[in-house]
Symmetry: C2
C-alpha cells in the first residue's frame, strides 16, 4: 500500500533507563513495570531485546526527565530483587518521530529517516518503529536539528509540525 508520511515531532526532556541482564522468564516484565507504575513514573516508550540465546533480556524505556529521582529508586528496588541485573541511565535526551500511515513495509521510510540523521551527523540512541511511528532517541542538543533534518528529508517543510 501507499506509504504516507504525515508529519514529524520532537519530544524533549527525556531520559533513558536501561535494565541489563533481566532473567528471561515469564513475569519479570510485569514485575518491573508494576514497580515503575507504583512510583507514578511517566513512561514514554518501552523496548526490550533478548540476549544470550534467550537467557537474559535488556529492557530500555524513556521517561520524562523530572521522573529521574523516582526511576533511581525503582532501579535500586529491582536490583535487590534481581542481583544479576545492572543498569544504565542516560539523561539529556530527546525523541524525534516520523508519523505516517500504511508504513507496513516501512523499511524505506526508516532508512530515509536514519540517513537524514546520518547526513546531519546526529547519532541515534534508542530506536523504536512500527507501522505508524518511527522514533529515534537523540541527544537533547541535537533534537531541533534532528527535527529539521527529518522535515527536510520528508519534504514536510511546507507544513511545519509542532513539537510534541
Amino acid at each position: 500500500g501507499q506509504i504516507i508520511v504525515r508529519g514529524a515531532a520532537l519530544k524533549k526532556d527525556l531520559a533513558r533507563v536501561e535494565l541489563i541482564g533481566v532473567p528471561n522468564k515469564p513475569g519479570l516484565a510485569s514485575e518491573i513495570f508494576s514497580h515503575v507504575a507504583d512510583r507514578d513514573i511517566i513512561v514514554d516508550d518501552i523496548i526490550q531485546v533478548i540476549h544470550k540465546g534467550g537467557e537474559t533480556a535488556d529492557l530500555s524505556f524513556t521517561i520524562e526527565a523530572d521522573n529521574l529521582q523516582a526511576a533511581h529508586l525503582v532501579i535500586e528496588e529491582l536490583r535487590r530483587e534481581m542481583p544479576g541485573m545492572t543498569s544504565e541511565v542516560k539523561t539529556d535526551l530527546a525523541k524525534v518521530s516520523v508519523v505516517g500511515v500504511g508504513m507496513r513495509t516501512h523499511t524505506g521510510v526508516a532508512s530515509r529517516m536514519f540517513e537524514a540523521l546520518h547526513q546531519a551527523n546526529i547519532n541515534i540512541d534508542n530506536i523504536s518503529t512500527s507501522e505508524i511511528v518511527i522514533s529515534c532517541v537523540v541527544n537533547a542538543e541535537d533534537g531541533p536539528r534532528a527535527l529539521r533534518a527529518v522535515h527536510s528529508a520528508f519534504e514536510l517543510d511546507q507544513e511545519p509540525r509542532g513539537t510534541a
Copy 2:
C-alpha cells in the same frame, strides 16, 4: 487523558534478527537498513538499545519468516563490514499487540498486558511500545493463547478482533 484500548491483534509467521555490538556512531543504522531494504526484506518492527555506556548498539528487528534466507545473506554482508558484530536469529515467532488511543502514560496498559501474559505463563521476547501500540513478541505456539489472554485482560472478548 483517557486511555482507551480498542483492540488486540496477532501477527503470525515472524522471525527475529538481532545484530549485537554494532558500533555506536552515526550512519550505521542507515547502512544496515539500506542493506535490508535492498534485499526487499519485509520488516515488521525495529528496535535498538545502546550498550556499554554508549559504545555499541544492539539492533533487533522482526521480519516475515519467508524472508529468512535473504536476512541471512544480509547478516553475512554486514558481518564482513562490521567484524566485531555478532548476530542471533530466532524463528517461529508471533507478535501480539494491543492498540489504543491516548496511551500517553501507558505504563498501566503495558503492565496489564505483561501481567496477562505472565498469568498465561507465556514468555515475552521482544517488546515495543508507544502511545498507540503495545507489542509483545512471543513463541508462535503461544500466539493464539496470548491473544486470548490479552482479549480477556482488556475485556475485548465481546468484540473479537481479527488476526493481523
